[in-house]
Amino acid sequence: MKSAVIVFPGSNCDRDMAVALEKITGQKPLMVWHQDYDFDKVDFIALPGGFSYGDYLRCGAMSARSHVMKEVVKRAEDGVPTFGVCNGFQILTETGLLPGALMRNANLHFVCKDVKMTVENADSMFTNAYKAGEEITIPVAHHDGNYFADDETLDRLEGEGQVAFKYAQDINGAQRRIAGVMNARGNVLGMMPHPERMIESPLGGSDGRKMFESVMNTLG
């Protein structure tokens, strides 16, 4: 599985994502600097966490309008599995690839801790290695993870199995405790928790591995 990690000015989980991808897939990912948007064909695109463009304007808003994101959107629409964590999720909502928006945490504080969440849909290309309803522990680290969409959208997301993960407890005020959502086609996932930070026991657990393994299963 050949993957690419897109790097913006201010990305800061790009190395963590690359380490996780290399450890799990056995292949070093291509690191794509935002200006080098004409990058090689890959099987999987990851948008890492961080503070791209310093979160200025709105988290993810500036990156979403970059050249490289135009290319990512095109490839995602062609079906390439595309995955955004934290700031990557914010960028995906800003591009419109995913519905909804991520607002400031309800208590207005940055939060970094392990959180329990449940796997809501275990049939997707990102989650098939998990069991449906399985409770997993993955850390969060964000200031703007409060997922918002209107009720109609939320009903549709839940009805169509587009909600991949939900927090077991409220941690940031997210509507219906949503932690991660997919697009209708199921090839784009955005989530606030960081699976790349939970890939071996010295880091506190390995519940994040199955996210990557699911994609590998799907791609064969």
């Binding site: 000015p9 380490v19 970094c112 010295p202």
Partner: protein, 734 residues
Amino acid sequence: MKNGNEIKITPELVKEHGLNEEEYARIKSAMGREPNYTELGIYSVMWSEHCSYKSSRFHLKKLPTKAPWVIQGPGENAGVIDIGDGQAAIFKMESHNHPSYIEPYQGAATGVGGILRDVFTMGARPVANMNALRFGEPSHPKTRHLVAGVVEGIGGYGNCVGVPTVGGETNFDPSYNGNILVNAMTVGLADADKIFYCAAAGVGNPVVYVGSKTGRDGIHGATMASAEFTDDSEEKRPTVQVGDPFTEKLLIEACLELMATDAIIAIQDMGAAGLTSSSVEMASKGGVGFELDLDTVPQRETNMLPYEMMLSESQERMLMVLKPGREDMAKAIFEKWELDFAVIGHITDTGNLTLKFGGEVVGDMPINSLVEDAPEYERPFEYTPKRQAISVKAPADLNKAAMDLIGGPNLCSRRWIWEQYDHMVMGDTIQRPGGDAAVVRVHGTEKALAISTDVTPRYCFADPVEGGRQAVAETWRNITAVGALPLAITNCLNFGNPERKDIMGQFVGCLEGMGEACRALDYPIVSGNVSLYNETNGKGILPTPAIGGVGVMKDSARMATVAFGGAGQTVVLIGETKDELGASLYQREIMGEDAGAPPHVDLTLERRNGDFVRALIENGQVATCHDLSDGGLIAALADMAMAGGVGVNVTVGDDLPVHTHLFSESQARYLVATDADTAEEIRKEAKDAGIPVTVLGETGGERITVNHGALDLDLHALKAAHEGWLPTYMANAS
């Protein structure tokens, strides 16, 4: 063209610049003439306490700074130690006290930014941030606002640059009501043969400015940090700088990218006193002169005067000397990262700092006089009178005393704070905040760094020499307790007004104790910072020489944590408990007194007991270990039980009253927990080595009990109190 030098130098103006008559006379004799306005500003910051260490230098020289593993001791941007395999750890701690009191968010944020730059200037990738925070008493009307702002500022900066904030310490004491302490520490990693220094060389070589543009912020920050506070200090808000962590992140990446080439001869960050101190430092270390053309300095505001440009403390800026002909390559890297890049001058052989503006020379000063001629004071001092050892009475209710202490402001969980810091980014944090020391892996290896910041200001006040020893010993013990070998320290010496004999006595005493401990533990000082004049309206803070220690663990799989590993473990105390409740947390918080001698630090025992415990962890005999410090045995037992989610039942001897056993803060003690057979092995080994050892009891159940119910606490209630205090306090709007 107006350049500021038309302003006439008057005695009032000299005084406003924090220079006394004698100092001004020195400037005139060094220059052989009257300085102009620009030059006066430059002398005033270079000779400020903050930049010149004029009150402390004489005593700092006495500290031990050498060991075979020390690559660079004090005098550079940060200290450097060899951690084996061709790798080096680079670290320093620095204060940002005055700005943080005036504007807590930006003060703390720029404190983090400044210390990060000190470390990556030397070629290191920063891998961990730590801090040491002191606030006033919780009931003071400003405390809540200051805690919220400082924590938000540290998080706001560190989280964005993507360096994990892995630990620190936070205390409350009335002496900090008008003068909080914000000390930030950064640790970085580099190849031992790729360290960058600040000594400029090569006449004619270009002097290059990179990073953010220069504005009018922070002018005279260094002078502000060298004076006492008064009630109108908040009017000094314009001297507080504003940070931009996004730019800092770009600056880190751009500098590290350029450092991978061979273009850089010397590099220095622009910290306190900005362009002035960075250029003077580089020229002075290299024994050369600098000519700067101030019209080429990237500026954020219009009509800036030379004085303002030279004294601005705008953040996220660096100064470099490049090899000739590498400017274009370097410029391309900085343009890629969307940062300013400008050649602003060149090296000369005049030995002067020469400033040009609008085609005219507006300042011309001998570099030597700015650095070497700075006054050095051997200020008079009086040692703190010795206190007598005392015994402290038992509490009316032992359970309540323990509960109040563990669920009170000084021992309660700091989770509310560290959950606002990204402590996991970079994917190598293997011991998170809340333990004895933070542990981060050396990326891609089996090794790890252990880091701890400590000082007990109560002890330093009661007996500065003992307190100085204890601060060093406690970081050493905390690093040992996770299984690492402590290698070196950085310090941040926060004291009151050195012009007062008693304060200077505290300073001298603490340094004596620190020096002794460093020598006894082979634990040299490789970098540091002094912050004096921490006073408001003539009332000084508790002497607070914060120590940041760094150690190395060869095999990070053999790491100990404080958490009990389930029921049925045997709990063993290494070291001896004595009647040492003087200046203890128990005495202060429960009995409402602060009297008597603090616990004695015997450095021979400290080393012997610590080496023994570290071997137990390295051999795999122990994976649960906690050092004993504030709050004594009961605080340590509670930490271990709460972290492990299991109770413990212990018995202490009748040689001392139960409350003395539980709350005494005797030094050189550790608790370990392991299986019964291994515990018996450990007991024998300790006995053979002549080390006091006591099998205290066993883990299990959901209560903490001592001597069959003399103390009996419900673990869940204790945890609720321990976790609850800080969030409850912070949620109560004042």
